[in-house]
Symmetry: C2
Subunit: 388 residues, 2 copies
């Protein structure tokens, strides 16, 4: 069994820090938080997507440069598009379970905002096998726009459903000090096309899309048997699940996130959690509002076509029985690609240790993370549990 025994999170947004700074800061801060130093670490895993955005293409060379006590420790990079962060944590868990490591430092980071919009768009398109290298101007928003259009055609989609998800994200991010966007947006604003909220890829508007972000997050994983007594805060990894899928537009049902469903099911099974309704919070991959809606269904919170029910019933709001993206999610917290999955784990760990500050939920015991790369191509899920 593996535990998370320390973590760190930079502010997400448009930052002055370089990629090297972001990785370095997160690494140092997570070790400090765990009350460990580099000598206690057996392996380091770095998650970045990068895709040519930064000239440094060998990010696993960074942690040793910033934390000299890590010298000699094996470092690698793991990449799985927007799921790179959780993929890196899942690698670290395998290292611990293999007996090769007792403590593993995992850092997710991305530096995006210093590049021109066109380059960022091309880099993100690189996460789709069919679109990579194409001249598409709407990119992934176009793909998720197709999902939304398909959803509307098959099940119906009220004008304000996606707007309610965007509103929830922005509302939740207001008291998240690490979030990129601290601006309350009304459902009406999000539901209406205007100069300030243009259509990006019909029916998706700007308020349906996560922003371009810089940021980093890190966790220290430890084998239960080796958890240093001096680590003051601990969260247990109750289960993980991973499944990959292929996005064949001619054959795959765009609304069937089979890989997401499989990864999530495996994580719940491993954790012995019979229903996702038994969780106390979920951080899920809302790169676009429509992704959150479809994931309500793929993760088993609602029947297919009935995702809106968890909004109608108040289930997923901050004061509901199962808050989803209490942090603001990718949508409002920000989405520095390689950092996102690690950030989701950090936010859950804060909640489960009662250290989430103004965001704190009342005594949560079980949290779920769902992180995906591409349109449900790489799917990674983790169930975390409170210890004390």
């Amino acid at each position: 069994m593996t535990s998370i025994v320390g973590w760190a999170h930079t502010r997400f947004g448009r930052l002055d820090d370089s990629l090297v700074d972001l990785i370095g800061h997160a690494a140092e801060s997570a070790l400090t938080h765990a009350e460990l130093d580099g000598h206690d670490i057996d392996e380091v895993v770095v998650a970045t997507y990068n895709a040519g955005l930064q000239p440094l293409a060998f990010p696993s060379s960074v942690p040793l440069e910033r934390v000299p006590t890590l010298r000699g420790v094996p470092c690698i990079r793991v990449e799985n598009a927007c799921a790179s962060g959780t993929a890196a944590i899942h690698h670290g868990i395998r290292s611990i379970e293999s007996g090769r490591a007792r403590q593993v430092l995992v850092i997710g980071a991305e530096k995006m905002t210093d590049r021109p919009a066109q380059q960022i768009g091309a880099a993100l398109l690189g996460a789709d096998l069919a679109l990579a290298g194409s001249e598409s101007t709407v990119g992934f928003a176009g793909l998720f726009g197709q999902v939304a259009a398909e959803y509307r055609g098959r099940y119906g989609l009220a004008d304000d459903t996606l707007a309610r998800i965007a509103h929830k994200a922005h509302r939740n991010a207001l008291d998240n000090p690490w979030a990129q966007l601290h601006r309350e947006l009304s459902v009406e604003f999000c539901a209406t096309t205007s100069a300030a909220n243009p259509v990006v890829a019909p029916p998706l508007r700007r308020t349906d899309c996560s922003p371009v972000s810089d940021g980093a997050a890190a966790v220290v994983l430890a084998a239960d048997a080796a958890v240093p007594a001096r680590c003051p805060r601990q969260v247990r990894v109750a289960g993980i699940g991973q499944a990959s899928d292929f996005l064949d537009r001619s054959r795959r049902d765009l609304l069937e996130f089979a890989g997401a469903r499989a990864a999530w099911g495996r994580a719940l099974d491993e954790a012995g959690v019979r229903s996702p309704r038994h969780l106390d919070l979920i951080e899920l991959h809302d790169c676009f509002t429509i992704a959150e809606l479809v994931l309500y269904e793929a993760l088993g919170l609602a029947a297919n076509g009935r995702g809106v029910s968890v909004l109608d019933e108040g289930v997923v709001y901050a004061d509901g029985p199962l808050p989803v993206n209490r942090s603001g999610g990718l949508k409002a917290k920000g989405h520095p690609v390689g950092a996102t999955g690690v950030s989701q784990h950090v936010l859950c760990a804060m909640q489960l240790t009662g250290t989430a500050g103004a965001m704190q939920l009342p005594n949560p015991r079980l949290a779920g993370v769902f992180n995906m790369g591409g349109l449900a191509v790489a799917n990674h899920a983790t169930i975390l549990g409170a210890v004390a």
Copy 2:
């Protein structure tokens, strides 16, 4: 304990295949060679460096596209600069040792030759923390040129020492059907500057540098307990070792490959091999001839400054007691970055199963692989053993 139960290797060189084709072909061929199909595979690991060379930046999405029976299987990418291939194999071994996978398919691939020289140079510079993004025109050759100059100043370096290493590589590659360069080069040619062999970064000449290459290689790993009886060829993983180092030019001795020494020592220890001289062959990372010379010393074949002795004594030639780079090495076999480490394992597996064709050595029992990223920054070593 983990075994290698199947493998594949494309020709290395200037190929018509895309990155997607290379990954797909290697994946299919390795499964066929192992007499398995996608349903037998629990995880897939893809190694590429890429660094912006190809627009597809999410290569783990490829195997499922080409091998439909892999649908649902977890796929990730591992990157560790030029050591990405072995890093991916080491990830796969952890997955097996963790109990999460019984059979893992590992694919290393790189597509480089379709890009302009300047872009390739910039991508490779991305593997050095200090040089990434710089305007250097000599790139990594410049860095290894400094190593050679330092070596010459400290220990002396005869005019023909590096030339003898280049000559050996080209000679060895002549009967390797997968090698990029099938051209015998005399020691005299390699030791002399000419229009055909210009100085690239003093004292390194063109014949001291590995080429730009396309190619792919793959292996199927299996837990010993689960090795399917129908897999016709097996090689055991006797030990692995990994260590990272930081290249601080102002502090680190450029000739002290401490990380290489540490990784190699860990692999030998785990395999219970007391001396590298007990191995029957080694495939090591000769991105430049000077790297092979320094690695003779770091891997314990010769004392510091005495690497040339293993050439003088005939130890490392094809007909010597411990052939090094019988395949032609990176220098003549080619160096498609993400494929290189996997290729090293494949060439050793062929030797250990008596299937190396014209390259076959007489009854080898133990083989060593050493693969590095940057100037001995990421270091990965594996010891492989014959089974039958």
